[in-house]
């Protein structure tokens, strides 16, 4: 158990450190803005507002939140205190809704969309990549350039293409939103059907890109393994092809798990932008609303939540990796 404890202890420590740095960045970066951020933001926010009390409320809220007259360290402590209570501030564009409120209604959509999409894309991509490496010949010649091209298409581009083809031209899928615009979220058969219909296009646009990228990576990993000495040795020994292939793909999978852990941030970023195209009610669209409405607390809240989500995903992948990596396993018996 010692090896595991050491491995997991290290991973947890890293998780905590990264989390703290992420918090600090989220806190400091917007405060590096030149000039008086409170006045600038109030001016941005108060455009078109004639009511003096509203402008003052905005200013006071900003001033309270930023505590501009207080030193940075004190501000950071207040920020952390609020965070512990789950208080991310009040949204400006959707006043008086709390940012944590808006985020909690959006986060489910994003997780339910991206988690299965990335996992399925990863699995299918690895399968195709492994097949391409094993079969070679025609399959590889066709599949490889197609995968590479698909992985080169930006997620939002794929989203627009699918939207135009399936929703506008073929009219087999709805154009935007997470459920029919004439519905109120509830537990009923109609609602579930509507959600599933709206789910298809965003889902497949993320999956198709993930497949491309993973297939390319898995293919070269598998080719690398297939050329390794132990494969040749195993062939000399007369071990069945099927068994060798099993070993090869297990070895090739390991770097792919690490690869997923390292690239999950980029994938999530791309998928969030793709959400905007479909006006999917997730975090991407929420963040976009925050940016267009100059709703600072909302932006800060969403970026923090996205970072935390990515950190947790990476952490989980690291833990899984610990269980499947023979090197970590071997450390148990030392």
């Amino acid at each position: 158990m010692k090896g595991y404890r050491k491995y997991f202890g290290k991973k947890i420590l890293w998780f905590v450190i990264t989390f703290i740095v992420a918090l600090m960045l989220n806190f400091i970066l917007p405060r590096l803005m030149p000039g008086d951020p409170v006045a600038a933001m109030t001016a941005k926010q108060a455009q078109g507002l004639s009511e003096a009390s509203a402008v003052k409320a905005i200013y006071d809220n900003y001033a309270r939140e930023f505590g501009t007259n207080k030193p940075m360290t004190e501000q950071f402590v207040t920020y952390l205190k609020n965070l512990v209570h789950g208080d991310l501030g009040t949204s400006f564009s959707q006043y008086p809704r709390k940012v944590s409120d808006i985020i909690s209604s959006a986060i489910g959509w994003t997780i339910c969309l991206q988690f299965p999409a990335i996992i399925i894309g990863w699995l299918l991509g690895n399968l195709l990549g492994a097949l391409a490496a094993y079969i070679r010949k025609g399959f590889d010649k066709v599949l490889m350039p197609i995968s590479l091209f698909f992985s080169s298409v930006p997620a939002f581009g794929m989203a627009v293409a699918l939207l135009v083809i399936f929703a506008i031209n073929l009219k087999v899928a709805p154009i935007s939103g997470g459920y029919g615009f004439d519905m109120i979220p509830n537990v009923s058969w109609n609602f579930v059907v509507s959600v599933i219909q709206h789910y298809q296009l965003p889902f497949w646009s993320i999956v198709s890109i993930a497949i491309g990228g993973q297939a390319v990576g898995m293919r070269s990993m598998s080719i690398y393994e297939l050329n390794a000495d132990y494969v040749k040795y195993a062939r000399f020994l007369g071990i069945k092809d099927r068994k060798i292939v099993g070993y090869v793909f297990r070895n090739a999978m390991l770097p792919q798990v690490t690869g997923l852990a390292l690239s999950i941030g980029t994938m999530v970023g791309g998928a969030l932008v793709a959400e905007i195209i479909f006006s999917y009610p997730g975090l991407g669209t929420t963040m976009y609303q925050g940016i267009t409405m100059a709703d600072y607390p909302l932006i800060s809240g969403t970026t923090l939540i996205i970072t935390v989500m990515v950190l947790i995903a990476t952490f989980i992948l690291d833990i899984i990796y610990g269980f499947i990596d023979p090197r970590v396993k071997a450390a148990q018996f030392e």
């Binding site: 740095v21 030149p34 590479l148 298409v153 939002f156 970026t303 970072t307």
Partner: protein, 417 residues
């Protein structure tokens, strides 16, 4: 060196990628020579003019050079043009509302459709359930159809500015044809105009150049930082390595996408030029290069030739320049290519979020996409405003990825086919 380059150009993947990228670059250089002018000039007053050739109506009516042709299918073509697909569907609806056999009718066959229409249509018939508005529509449609082929001549009149009277200037007959060359103003817009009425193709070519420049700057910055940190961490090891790897590990996990949003939001829109955005992208994406350079350098550090150089008392910069850099050059080039491609993508994503470079300066691929989406080009069928942009982004990164894969196979013999 020469041999390496020859080897690289023997890789089919690299060559294909290189050719695609070079043809994009060439188009970028040559097209502005053929079609000079400011790419941001708003030439159209409306939004999203369709792609095609636009002939000045004024010039074609006022020109004195015309020929007379009697083309047998002229009338039919005119009718073809007048009947929109919506009209055709409505005509079919009218037939079926009046129980007329349309089983043999083809909707694109204008002649047959009109023949059936003229034989059967009667404004007095009131089909069941048809609204008054719809009946009036059919009456209007019928008038259009009947008048389309009737007037033999149209007269061109001019308003006299002093008296305000209309004076007939000339008559245009149905058989008059103008040669396109004798019309003073003809404008070909291969990709139409965008939401601001700008020539999309011209804008796209410029945007492509700016985006590639953003990618190159971002890639250069990221590669420079990554190379420096990777060399230091890998070669010096010890505390330096620990510190550098501490930050590298942290920034590998914190998504650079989030950092980009936070930083770009903090920079005021007016100060956010293309170069600034490129620098910010570069500053947030050095992590990958650092990691791979470090691991390469670590395996080189204790090689015999490096030890020999160190024992000979060579300085640190010299060892790095002559004994280490040449060995990792191929990795650095590959990392640079990937950085360029991801830099272009990052700009596009930022712009879509509304955090890209400011709009008034230069067009970028992301900004074009952003405006097309803001004006719902994808919902109103203006494919020319967004589809070429997506295609260009895809082809740029496809060519760069292909080049990268090709290089990978040249330098990693185990990956060869």
């Amino acid at each position: 060196m020469k041999n390496t380059i020859r080897q690289v150009f023997h890789s089919p993947k690299f060559v294909v990628g290189f050719c695609i990228f070079m043809s994009i670059l060439l188009t970028m250089l040559i097209y502005p020579l053929i079609n000079p002018g400011n790419p941001l000039q708003m030439i159209g007053l409306g939004t999203f003019a369709k792609p095609g050739t636009y002939v000045s109506m004024y010039d074609s009516v006022t020109t004195t050079e015309y020929s007379t042709f009697k083309l047998p299918d002229a009338d039919a073509k005119r009718l073809d043009q007048i009947l929109t697909s919506e009209d055709r569907v409505n005509m079919i609806n009218w037939f079926s509302a009046n129980n007329i056999d349309i089983s043999k009718l083809n909707i694109s066959d204008t002649q047959a459709l009109l023949k059936l229409w003229k034989a059967n249509y009667d404004p007095a018939i009131k089909p069941k359930g048809m609204t008054k508005a719809m009946r009036n529509y059919y009456i209007r449609l019928n008038t259009n159809i009947n008048s389309a082929g009737n007037a033999e001549t149209l007269s061109v009149t001019e308003v006299d500015p002093t008296t305000g009277e209309t004076v007939e200037k000339s008559k245009i007959s149905k058989t008059d044809y103008v040669n396109v060359d004798s019309v003073a103003n003809v404008k070909t817009l291969p990709l139409g105009t965008d939401n601001f009425g700008r020539d999309t193709l011209k804008e796209l070519v410029t945007a492509c150049g700016v985006s590639i420049m953003i990618g190159l700057i971002a890639g250069a910055v990221a590669t420079a930082i990554g190379l420096l940190l990777g060399l230091l961490a890998g070669y010096l090891g010890g505390v330096v390595d620990d510190i550098i790897m501490f930050f590298t590990n942290i920034f590998t996990v914190i998504p650079s996408f989030v950092l980009l949003i936070l930083i770009n939001y903090s920079i005021d829109q007016d100060q956010r030029g293309a170069t600034t955005v490129a620098l910010v992208i570069g500053l947030t994406s050095w992590v990958w290069t650092t990691r791979s350079v470090r691991s390469q350098v670590m395996s080189l550090r204790n090689r015999d030739h490096v030890n020999l150089s160190r024992l000979s008392g060579h300085s640190l910069p010299r060892i790095i320049l002559t004994d280490i850099l040449p060995y990792i050059a191929s990795y650095v080039v590959m990392a640079f290519i990937l950085q360029v491609s991801s830099g272009i993508l990052a700009e596009a994503q930022l712009s879509l979020l509304g955090l890209g470079p400011k709009t008034t300066d230069v067009p970028t691929l992301g900004l074009m996409m952003n405006w097309a989406m803001l004006y719902s080009a994808h919902l109103n069928g203006s494919w020319w405003a967004y589809f070429p942009v997506i295609l260009v982004i895809a082809f740029i990164s496809f060519s760069l990825n292909l080049m990268n894969t090709g290089l990978d196979q040249v330098f990693n013999p185990t990956l060869r086919d």
